[in-house]
Symmetry: C3
Subunit: 677 residues, 3 copies
Amino acid sequence: MISRKLPKVWYGGDYNPEQWDDPAVWEEDIRMFKKAGIDIVTLNVFSWALNQPNEDIYRFTNLDAHINRLYEQGIYTCLATSTAAHPAWMAKKYPDVRRVDFYGRKRTFGGRHNSCPNSPTYREYSEKMADKLGERYKEHPAVLIWHVSNEYGGYCYCENCTNGFQRWLQKKYGSLEKLNQTWNTRFWGHTFYEWDEIVVPNALSEEGEGNVSAFQGISLDYRIFQSESLLECYKLEHNALKKHTPDIPVTTNLMGTYPELDYFKWGKEMDVISWDSYPGIDTPVSLTAMTHDLMRGLKDGQPFMLMEQTPSQQNWQPYNALKRPGVMRLWSYQAMAHGADTIMFFQLRRSIGACEKFHGAVIEHVGHEHTRVFRETADLGKELQQLSDVFIDSRTEAKVAIVYDWENRWAIELSSGPSGSLDYVKEVHKYYAALYELNIPVDIVSTEDDLSKYDLVIAPVLYMVKKDYHQKLESFVEKGGTFITTFFSGIVDEHDLVTLGGYPGKLRKLLGIWVEEIDALDPSHFNQIVMKEKWGRLEGQFDCNLLFDIIHTEGADIIAEYGSEFYQGLPVVTANNYGNGKAIYVGSSGEQAFINGLIENLCQEKEITSLLVTPSGVEVTERSKEGRAVLFVLNHNDIETSFEVKEEFVDLLTGSEISGTVQLREQGVMLLEKINK
Amino acid sequence: MISRKLPKVWYGGDYNPEQWDDPAVWEEDIRMFKKAGIDIVTLNVFSWALNQPNEDIYRFTNLDAHINRLYEQGIYTCLATSTAAHPAWMAKKYPDVRRVDFYGRKRTFGGRHNSCPNSPTYREYSEKMADKLGERYKEHPAVLIWHVSNEYGGYCYCENCTNGFQRWLQKKYGSLEKLNQTWNTRFWGHTFYEWDEIVVPNALSEEGEGNVSAFQGISLDYRIFQSESLLECYKLEHNALKKHTPDIPVTTNLMGTYPELDYFKWGKEMDVISWDSYPGIDTPVSLTAMTHDLMRGLKDGQPFMLMEQTPSQQNWQPYNALKRPGVMRLWSYQAMAHGADTIMFFQLRRSIGACEKFHGAVIEHVGHEHTRVFRETADLGKELQQLSDVFIDSRTEAKVAIVYDWENRWAIELSSGPSGSLDYVKEVHKYYAALYELNIPVDIVSTEDDLSKYDLVIAPVLYMVKKDYHQKLESFVEKGGTFITTFFSGIVDEHDLVTLGGYPGKLRKLLGIWVEEIDALDPSHFNQIVMKEKWGRLEGQFDCNLLFDIIHTEGADIIAEYGSEFYQGLPVVTANNYGNGKAIYVGSSGEQAFINGLIENLCQEKEITSLLVTPSGVEVTERSKEGRAVLFVLNHNDIETSFEVKEEFVDLLTGSEISGTVQLREQGVMLLEKINK
Amino acid sequence: MISRKLPKVWYGGDYNPEQWDDPAVWEEDIRMFKKAGIDIVTLNVFSWALNQPNEDIYRFTNLDAHINRLYEQGIYTCLATSTAAHPAWMAKKYPDVRRVDFYGRKRTFGGRHNSCPNSPTYREYSEKMADKLGERYKEHPAVLIWHVSNEYGGYCYCENCTNGFQRWLQKKYGSLEKLNQTWNTRFWGHTFYEWDEIVVPNALSEEGEGNVSAFQGISLDYRIFQSESLLECYKLEHNALKKHTPDIPVTTNLMGTYPELDYFKWGKEMDVISWDSYPGIDTPVSLTAMTHDLMRGLKDGQPFMLMEQTPSQQNWQPYNALKRPGVMRLWSYQAMAHGADTIMFFQLRRSIGACEKFHGAVIEHVGHEHTRVFRETADLGKELQQLSDVFIDSRTEAKVAIVYDWENRWAIELSSGPSGSLDYVKEVHKYYAALYELNIPVDIVSTEDDLSKYDLVIAPVLYMVKKDYHQKLESFVEKGGTFITTFFSGIVDEHDLVTLGGYPGKLRKLLGIWVEEIDALDPSHFNQIVMKEKWGRLEGQFDCNLLFDIIHTEGADIIAEYGSEFYQGLPVVTANNYGNGKAIYVGSSGEQAFINGLIENLCQEKEITSLLVTPSGVEVTERSKEGRAVLFVLNHNDIETSFEVKEEFVDLLTGSEISGTVQLREQGVMLLEKINK
C-alpha cells in the first residue's frame, strides 16, 4: 500500500538543512526542488531534540512552517517521527535510554540509533512523539506517508534487555527444562535453575567479536529477541500513528541485507517497504538487483520505496567515488525495474557541519543548480514526470524463487566450524547472479512463503531447516518443481540443534543422498567439479572450494564428481527424482561458470525463458499489471551495446518504435512496451 | 604412574552426549565402543551444574548409572571432577568466582575456564566437589584415573587476585625495598611504599595487547603468580582425591606449548602427564613430535597420556580440514612413539548443539558405525588390543637434550626490543627439527633437570639465565659435553634484570665471546652465515635473519662470519673449547639447512647416531624397557617410501620379518623389534 | 633563549641509572662522560616517587649529591621536574590523578604520562614539586635549564575533564545557542539545553577508533581543550620555576609532528624549544629535516635543543636496527644544520630493567668505553668541543615558507569522507621534499606567522581556513608573492563548518577557480596530470591519485589537465594572477617528480636559488649570524659523492680549504665558511 495521491513515481528526498530558518535559503531551495521535479520531501528525521526541549514541551511551529511552505509549492511531505536519536536531556535524566554495548559499557550520549529498545523511557517517549505528530498532522493534506524513526539497528545489552530477554525466554520455552534442553546447556555445564541466572550473550559472557559464540542457541535467541524488541518499538509508533490516520501508510527505511534484523518479520508490520540503497563503486550490479528483489519480497511482491540513495557521493566508505555521469539515473531505473515506485535521495541539501557534510546532495555546498549532480537529478525528475504511470503498482512475475532467511544466516554466522569463510549472502548471490545473467525474473522469498507458483526454487546453504519446512519443499518437488540446495544444508533445526541420523538431515529423503563428512580447506585451495557427461553448456570440469561434502547417493543420480583429494571420484553434484520433480544438491562452492550452466540447464528443462537475450551487462526485467507489461532494459556497460528483439516495442522514454537490432548507449535505459498490432 | 589395570595402551575418549539418558542411545553407543576396542571413557568433564544444582545438594545418581553401565560392559572410566566451568547459580550468588578480564571488565556468566583461581568460593566448592567424588567412587573398580578440571588456563585480574598477588609478592620479596630494586621501579617513577599500592598488570595499568609491558618484572611475576594460582586450584582437588584414593593416579589435561602455564612446575604435582594434541593441517609433524617430547619431559621421561585428539575434524580452526585416511592412526602411533601409553579422543560422540557440535567424534551425528572415521578408529582399536605390551611403560633413551623454559619464554615475549618477530617456540623447533630429520632421540628438559646423562645440550635463545644455571652448563661442558646456544642468550637473570658487564652475561666465559651489539632488522632482510671452511655438509654460505649479534671472540674459534652489513667479516658462529667439551654460539637465526648441518656435525663428533637412516618424512623413534627396544617407523609422506635396515627385525604390527630394503606405504607405520639370532 | 653558559653546542643526555648510588658506578660514568666531551646531563626525569614518598615529605639529598658530583667534574645539569609519572601512593590516595581512557575505563596505576591534566591533585602537586625544585636549586650554578615533565601527551576522558570541558565551552561560546549552531547539533538531533548535557567525545559517545567522529565540531574542540589542558599543566610548573629563577630557561621536550598537541601554542609558552628525534631506519632523511624545521618554526626561528636522540638503537620499533657507523654523527649535524644548538642523548647509560633496557645508550650494558657506540659518541663530543661557536645562536634565512597547522590536521583526520587515505603530514612532506632536493631553505610557519618576508608560501591541503587567514594570503600574493595550495583546501572555517558558496571557499577568489566536485578513489588507482605545455622540467604527463578535484577556472590559467576519467581534459593544475603575484592550485595528489618540477619552476621565477647544487642525497643548509654564514653539507648516501663549488671555502671541521670539485665520503659532513679574499 503506497498512498497514491501522486499518479507517478514519487521523487524527492531528505531535507534537513541548518539554514532552513532563513527565508533566502528555503525559497531558493524550493525553487530548485520544483526545477528538479521533486514532489515529496522527507522532513523531521532527526528533530526530536528540537521539537521536544524537555519532558513536557512539544513545539511544532517550525515543522508546521516547513510542511506548509513546501505544500504551498505543491510538494508533499514524507513525515518522519524523529525518534532515531534521543535528546541529550533525556540521556542525562533517564540513563535507561542509553544502550550498553557489546563489551558491557554503558554509553554516555552521542551518535544516533542509540536508544535501548527495551528502555521504558524510550518506549514511552517515542510512542508519545508519534502520537503527538499523528494528532497534529492527521488532517494535513501534505502528509503522504509516515516515516518511523530511521534505519533501525544495533543491539543493546543492558539490564532492561537482560530482564526482557529472561521474560521473553520464559514465554518462548515455558520451562527451564525445555530451555536447558534446547540450548543444550549440559555442554560446558551451563544448566540453569532460575530464569534470572541467564545473562545476555556478549563479550562478557558467551560471545566474542565476529559472531563467535560458545552457545549458539543463546546467541541465536538473542538476535531474534533484539530484532523483535526493535520491531516492538516500531510497532508502538506505527500503531500510535494509525490511530490518528488509518489511511496514511506507515514505513521505516530498511537496509537491504542488513544482518541484525529479520526483515521478513518487519515487513509484516509495515504498510509499505522502503529502503536505503548505497552500493559502493565495486558492488556488483547484480547484488544491488538482488537486494531490490529481497526488499520486494518482504511484502509479497508489493512495490517498494527507494527511500534513500545518494545523488552522487557517499561519505562513509574508505574512498567515496562520485557516481559517474548517467549512473544515478541508471541505478534509479534499476530500482524501478525491480519494484520501486519511489525514488528518493539522501539528501536534498548538503549539511554544513558534522559527519555527513561530505555526503552527496541534490543541492551541493555551492548552493545553486549549475552542477552536474543537479542537472542529472533534474533531468531524471523531468523524465519521471513525463513518464506515463504504466508500471506504477505493477508486479513482477517470476517462476523462480530464491529462499533467503535471516535466522539461517545468523546460525551460519554463529557456527563454530567447519569454515570461517562461509558467507551466506555471497553464496545466495552466486545463484542470483546466474539468473540475473539470463534475464530471468526471481522472487526472493522467506521460508513462510508459498512455493506453489514457482517452477524452480533455490535455497543456497539451507543450513537450518525450521520445523517442517522440508515438507513444504518435498511437496513442491513432488508436484513437479525443481529444487536446488547446496553443501552445509539440512544440518540443524530452528534451534540450531543438529538433526541426527545423517546429513543433510530432514532434506535427506528429498535429495536422495547421505553426506558422511564435510571437508573444509582454505578457500585458496580448489577441488574440481568433474561432469560425468556433457550437459548443455556444462562439460569438463570446474573449480570449487570452501566446503566439500563427501556424498553417498541414496537414489540420486550423480551429475559430477570430485576431481581430487581422497574423495576424488565421489559425487559432488547430484539430482534426485522425487515425485514429479527433482532435487539438486551441489556439494561444494562451485565457480560462477558452473552455477551459470547449472541454472541455465534447469531453467531450460522447466521452460523458464529469458525476458530478452542481451549481452553481458545489459539487465532486463519486467513489471506488469492489467495485461500490460513493461520491459526495463538497462545497459550497465561503459560502452554502447546492441541486441536483437524479435517483436516490436515502443520505448516509453522516447516514444520511438523499436525492432530488430537495438542500440543502447552506455548507462542507457529503455522502457519497452510491446506493440500489439 | 599410570594405573595399569589394562595391560595395553588405553583406548577411549570423552563421552558427554546429551542423549545419554536415553537407553536406546547408550546401549547402541556402548555396543559401538566395544566394536571399536574402546576400554576407557572420560566422564563428567562439564557436569558441575548438573551434579550440584545448588550449594547444598549433590546428586550423582546419573553419574553412578553411567559408570556402571560402562563397567558392566568392561569399559573403565577416566573420571573428571567437572570444575572447569562453574554453575550459573554460583556465578549469580558468588560474583567472586567470575573473572575480571585483561581489560578490567568483570565477566558475567558464560564460556568455560571461567573461574577466578583466587576466588575463595571457587576454591571451596571445587575442592569440595573433588572430595565428594573421591568419597563416592573410591571403591569403584571402574575408576582408573582422576581427571581434574579441564585444560587449565586464562588469567584473572580481579580484586582477589590483586590481594593475592600482593601477599605473594610479600612472601617472595620480603621487603618493598627488595621488590623495588628487583622490578627496577625507579625507572618511570614507580617506587612503591606500601604493598597495597601494587596493582595487577593489565590493560589498565602496565600492559597492552600482545605481551606489551612497561614493567617486565611486574608482568613476569604476574605470569608466575597466575600459573601458580591455577596450580594451587589443581592441587586442592588433587589432594582431596588422594585422601580417598591414594593409589588412583590424578592428572589434568595439558596443552603442549600453551603459553600461560609453567608446565614443568605443574608436572611435579601431577601423578601422570596427560595432554590434548590438536595439530592443524599445516602443523609440521616435527612440531607435534617436539610437543610430545616436551610433555614426556615434564615428568622426567615417564610415559604420558594422549588425553585428547580428534578422530578427524576440529571445529575452532579457521578451516577445519578432515584428517586424511590413515592420518589419525599415524598420529596416534606418533604419540606412542614419543611416550604415550594412552590414546584417547575428544570426543566419542558429537554433541547435538553448542559450539563444538562440528568437532569430530568416533560416533558422528549420523549415529552409526558405517563411517570412515568409525572404521579407522575401530581398526586402530583392534590393532592396539592385539599389540603385545612390549613398549608399555618403556622409556626413551636420548643423548641429546633441548632446554625449554616457560619463564624464559615469558621474558622474551615481554621484551620491548630488539625484535618484535622473535618467536621462542619457533627457534627451539628449528633445532628440534634438525635432530628429528636425523632420527636422533631428544629429551626436552627444564633448567632444573640433570644434564649429566647427555652428550649434547641445546638451549636456543637462552635469554634468561636463572641463578647459577650457567654453572650447570659449565660443568656439563667441562666434563666433555657439547653445548649450543644462540643469539639473545645470557642477557638477563631470573628477574629479567640485565646481567651487566657484557653479553652474553653469565654465559660469556663458557662461550668465549663478547657480544657488543645486537642488530635487528625486518625478517624479510637477510644476512649470510659464511663458513670459514668446509665442515661436513656445511660449506659456502647460508641465509640468516631476525637478530644479528656483533661478536668478538674471547678464546672461541670462529666457525662462520657475516657476509654483509657493516659487521661483514665479524663472527656469527663460534665454538669455544671449555674443559673437555665445547660450547657453540649461533649469533643469528640461521636457515634450516645450516642448523641441520651444524647438528649433524656435532652429533657425529659425539658419535650420536641415527636410530635408522630414512628418507625425509619417515620418522623413527625408539622406546625400550628391560633390554627390549621397539623402533617406531612412521611414514608421514603421501607416497610409499623405502629405506634400508642393516639388521633383522620383526614388525610387531604384522609379525613379518624385516630386513634389507623395506617398503613402507604412505601414512604407514611399523613397530620393529630386533631379532636376536 | 638558551642559557649560554656554555659557548658551544651543548652535548650530553639523560642519566637515570639504577646503580647511581654506587660510587664505583658514578665515578666511572663521570670519567667516561668527560672522555666523551659531555658537558650537560639531564637528571630527575622520573624521580617524583623517589623524591616525594608521601604528601608531606620531599627529600632531595640524593639529587643534591648527583648534581654536585657532576658539577664538581665540570658537568652542568638540565634539571627535570619529574612530573611525567605520578607516584603510586598518589594514584592510590587520589584517584583523580588517574586518567579515564578513550574507552571510558578508569586507569589503575602504571606506565607514564598517566596523569589527568584536569586533576586538581595533579595540578597541585606537580606545581608544588616545581616550586620546591625552583626554590632548592635557584642558586645552584650547575643548573643550566629546567626540563618540565616529559613528552606531554595523551588525552583523558574523566569527570574532571568533562566538567572542565563544559566550563571551557561556556567560556568559548558564551551561549548554548552559539554552541548548538557552531557544532551543527541539529544534525542527528543533538541540540543541548543545559551545559551539563555535554559529554566528552570518546568511544562511549561520539567517537570510534581512528579519528572517527559523528560530530567533528565536538571532537575538534576536545582536541583543542585537551592540548590546552596539558599546556596549562606545563604553565603551572613553568611559572613556579620562573618565580625562583627568572633567568634560567624552561623547556619541555616535544615530539615533532606528534598529533595530539598544538605545538605552535606550546611554543609561545616555552623559553626554548626542545624535542626528541627518533627516526626509524626507513624514515626519509627529508622528513627528519622537515621536522627539525617545524620545531625551529615553533618559536620564530630561534635555535632549538635536540633533547633526545638514541646513540644507536631504539627499543619500541618492531625491528630496532642499529644506527650504522657514522649515522649518529651525520644526524646530529643534520639537527644543527636545521637550528639545533644542543645535541643530547637518551640515554647516557642503559637501564638494567624494565621496558627501555634495550634502548641504546652512550654507556652500554657492558659498562665500559670500548664500544663502537661510545667511540662514535666521544669522537663527536671532541669534535664539538673543538668547533668554534660560529653558528651558535645563528639563524636560517628562508624565502620559502610552508604552512603547518595542527587544527587543520585534526579537522582533516576527523573528516568523514571523501578519502580515508589522506595523510596531512605526507602531503606537506611532498612539498618539503621538493625544496629539500633543491637545497633551498624553508621555514615551517603557523597560520599566525607573518608572511611578508617570504617569496613563496605553500599551504598543502589547507582544508581549514581560519577566520580571515585568506586575507593574509591574498595580501601576500597581491604584493607579489607566489602561493601554492592543493586539493581539499578552503573547505571549512575554524569550526569545521563548510564555507558555503562553492569550493575552495574563502580561497576561491585568490585561486580563480571553482571546484564543483571531489572524486575519491582507492590510492592504487591513478589519473594523470597532463601538462598543457612544457614548463621547465615539466612536460608530458605525471601520475596523480587520492583525490581529484573537478575544477572550473574563474580567471586562472590552466597548467595541466586530467588525462582520464569523465573529467579528462578538465583542469587539474591552475595558476591565477592576483595582484603582483600568483596563486597555484594543484587539484590532485601528484607524484613527487611533478611536485619537484613545479617547485623548481616557481623558485626559478622568484629567483630563489639553491645554496649549493649537489647530487641527490647530499643535503645543504645554511645558518648565519652577524654577517657570517656556515654551510652544512651532509652526505646521506652510502657512497662517496662529489660536487662543485664555485667559491672558496674553509671546512670548519678540518680547517681544509675547499674549492672546485669536492669529495665527500659516505655519511660525511662539512661545515663550510666562505673565504673572503
